[in-house]
Symmetry: C2
Subunit: 176 residues, 2 copies
Amino acid sequence: MKRFTLSLLAVAFLAGFVAFTAFASRHADQEGTPIFVTKIPPGYREWRLVSVAHEEGELNDIRAILGNDVAIKAYRERKLPFPEGTIIARIAWRHVPSEENNRAFGREQSFVPGEQPPWYLQFMVKDSRTYAATGGWGYSQFDKDSKPGPESDMKTCFPCHQAAKDRDFVFTRYAP
Amino acid sequence: MKRFTLSLLAVAFLAGFVAFTAFASRHADQEGTPIFVTKIPPGYREWRLVSVAHEEGELNDIRAILGNDVAIKAYRERKLPFPEGTIIARIAWRHVPSEENNRAFGREQSFVPGEQPPWYLQFMVKDSRTYAATGGWGYSQFDKDSKPGPESDMKTCFPCHQAAKDRDFVFTRYAP
């Protein structure tokens, strides 16, 4: 009976230890999880179009949202969550009037891409293991010299993208 | 001598006839040249991005300009005139505010693609022989049911595109 009790205790202890280790490990994983992407995904300018958008105010940009093959397929099949390997790119340019177009149209109405803004390039990369702490998405932005933005900026991405949680944290919808 | 004169006359007549035929034929070609494209080029939604734009006023749209492989290569190599086979597509959507994005940004600033406008799709197709009368470009527009616009509308394309004559009649520049 004593031996049985000891065995039971040993099993209980072992189970507790395993559970604690798993918890600690998961916790450490989340603490150590990168939240952003530090390299520009190669070939992004060859990707297909997801949509376009225009931001007024401080951003004052016109933008294109492109997707790699995995992204485009998922968008078209309305597949949620997006599969591993999905990458969505956002390219922005200053929203500037086109005098040339306005002359042709005969009125002030036309806006085209101007200079690249400070953070002209952004990405969302789906990798559920690597970016477990931020909904499975790694975020990034790059300046015109391809230099990544500071990690502190990236900490603001996920909280904001929570607003699109029901679409796997992706704001942009596919434009047919 | 008489025979020589007759021969000379025959040659002159023949030359005149050939010249006249060539003129008449060229003239007929230009008269009969189609100025617009009646079928949607297949696979255009897979093409790469040339640029984006926003038109205010009556158009009130946000648009993407895509190019087939020939177009993209020519744009990137700054090749003018555009080679035979170039096709440039313009897809437009209504420029509408995104309430969802505005909530996330905390201000009214975000515009995204809305419904397709009546002529949501336009193309320029480079084929110097077929579209000789309009600078080597065939023009077209299609409604959401893929029905081409009337040829009368297309007659306004080329005169307006004359404003971009030094860039082979193409307004849109490549956005890096």
